[in-house]
Symmetry: C2
Subunit: 387 residues, 2 copies
């Protein structure tokens, strides 16, 4: 396993870099599509190559439950199982244990949780999560972390942060560094002092990269941006910084300006299946009847397979009859949009025009209503008994 | 509109031919995938081109209900709506009115039926069905026919046949022949005398092609084969013969040997979404746990996109987690299988080796159990209050 990160150019805090992972070159800033259950929903690995993605994220929690480590072991890992020749980053399951289960019991040793599929009981420790990711064959692995609702009481957040640190030490000790790069995950909720402490503690370990965890879990956007900025002040500037679970176009642009290099999120693919289409002006709901008679693409100058071949009216009809092809074409469009956005961001950093690119993008892009978004997220968290 | 049919070679009753439809060359025997609601389910028009299909079938009934004639008219027809550059055949809705609705009222004038979507009331006449297909822009159109359960009483079947003939005359009179080729549909259930009468009556009209309707609707296979053989004796030998709604591999091979040139069926795509995979040995259920650890393709020597890239174990996992990609890859495999089968059938006719090809194929291919198949079909018909 070889891993390196080089910063090719800066534009104030924004960075354009190159990750070299086992010979695979990944330009940053990078957005990683999420292959939760060994596929980016609706797409094949060949489709992802076609879309020019160099790295995807998959989930240790989901892969552990299905297909399970026996299948992945038999197939010599996820790369061969899904026939994906490029890089894979896996999260640790810390977030899924936090968000999908109602019967989680956390102790110093690890986490006992019930499967969201069949209710069966399982145990994750920092060590077992390293072992599972080794079977998965991930190129970049995450340590088990204790992720809690970011607005929780400071004492609770401090405790979860300290547990995350303890678990990180155990992860480092059990990690077989010859096979993958282990990143740290900083926690500390919305508390600046805790985030600083977490960043400084983990920086000391001189890991190949650092993830910012515990954000995009219910706090408002300005708080998220503040915390990201503060973390990046204390994280080593020569290591890649990965903001976990963030993927709306406005967040990608803004967080690159705050010094983030890597992102992942199910948002573009989940939105696509719900008919929400990314455009430079903001999200467009393809299900609206105003699209019915449109013989023009979802976005006029878009070069994706969907926009190059099919009309908004046709995609509207596919959604109206719940045709799977519609979900696929919308997914291709949204991922192409984000890939193109990252390419444009990177080029503008290399050309030292990132600030004007950012200002222009954000002035054109109408984000979803923040109050509505917060309310949706609150309902989602409530539905999972998290708040 | 130009339409011609040339028989390139015979092998006893089997024929290899060429349809020339508006400049598009279609080799026969041909299987037409079904794009019920303006898409072959899970696939785009680009995918169908990739699979080398030259003609697809779509449904007048479904297209009339959604997206509707106003949308299709605005888009100048289905070719442009779904961006399909090759040929389209549309059925007349006769079969759907028969199979999907419980409140059909048939008179000499036409059919009053309720939409299976919202229960709204509609009227189809031979003339309106011609007009709808003109808006769709089909290259080959079907007349409204009266399709009844094939085991019905002979008097009822005779009446429906005579109505079909009356309606065919009206269809011919209202058909704008400059835009499309109108086929006849012969009826007559399982009664040899009625089938003969229907074939002779319709042959007199010297139409560009003939469809055999009212089969594969509950009768056993040997009865279906007998009726197909009898129809082909009385249909003109220089016109294409289209057996409607038939598409299992064993039926395609057998019915080509009886002189059929064209087929359509939702079976390969519907089976695919249920995990039933065509192989030379018969159908294989990919959901079975025996596939779980297989790092080999669905079929070893298959050249389809699915088999060339992914393992049976991976497809099994996609079905296990209900991942849309699995439905798509299985659909690609089944349609590739049928396309390849038709190519092999045609080549063997051209090489005068069709009989040995047929015998070898049928000796290797294990069809589904006939009793189980009949029982399933009976339940399906009962579910629609047809029997």
């Amino acid at each position: 396993m070889s891993f390196s990160f080089n910063i090719d150019s800066n534009c104030e805090k924004a960075r354009a870099g190159t990750l070299l992972v086992d010979g695979n070159e990944i330009s940053t800033p990078v957005f990683m599509p999420v292959a939760t259950k060994s596929a980016v929903r609706t797409l094949s690995s060949a489709d992802l190559i076609e879309l020019n993605f160099d790295i995807i994220l998959s989930n240790t929690y989901h892969l552990y439950l299905t297909p399970g480590t026996n299948v992945l072991s038999q197939f010599n890992g996820l790369h061969n199982f899904m026939k994906w020749p490029k890089s894979i980053l896996t999260d640790s399951g810390g977030y899924q244990v936090f968000s999908l289960n109602h019967n989680t019991k956390i102790s110093e040793e690890g986490v006992v949780f019930k499967s969201h599929i069949d209710g069966s009981s399982h145990f994750f420790s920092p060590e077992s999560v390293m072992a599972i990711q080794q079977i998965i064959g991930s190129n970049i692995v995450m340590p088990l972390d204790h992720c809690i609702y970011s607005a929780d009481d400071e004492i609770d957040v401090r405790n979860s942060m300290q547990r995350t640190h303890d678990w990180l030490i155990r992860s480092v000790n059990s990690h077989n560094s010859s096979n993958s790069a282990l990143f740290g995950i900083v926690q500390g909720g919305v508390y600046s002092n805790l985030r600083k402490e977490s960043c400084l503690f983990e920086s000391e370990l001189d890991l190949p990269g650092y993830s910012i965890g515990g954000l995009a879990v219910g706090e408002d956007k300005s708080t998220m941006y503040r915390i990201v900025e503060e973390c990046n002040e204390y994280l080593p500037s020569d290591k890649p910084r990965y903001l976990m679970g963030v993927g709306s176009p406005e967040d990608l642009v803004t967080c690159v300006s705050l010094g983030v290099d890597m992102f992942d999120c199910v948002l573009p693919t989940r939105l696509a299946r719900n008919g929400a289409i990314f455009t430079k002006a903001g999200r467009k709901n393809i299900k609206k009847s105003t699209n019915k008679l449109l013989d023009t693409p979802l976005e006029d100058d878009c070069l994706c397979e969907c926009c190059q071949n099919y009309s908004a009216g046709y995609i509207h009809q596919l959604f109206k009859v719940s045709e799977i092809l519609g979900y696929r074409l919308a997914t291709i469009h949204n991922l192409f949009f984000l890939k193109q956005l990252m390419v444009n961001i990177r080029n503008s950093i290399l050309n030292n025009t990132f600030n004007s690119f950012k200002n222009e993008f954000l002035s054109n892009y109408q984000p979803t209503n923040e109050i509505a978004r917060m309310e949706q997220k609150k309902q989602w968290l409530k539905g999972r008994n998290i708040i």
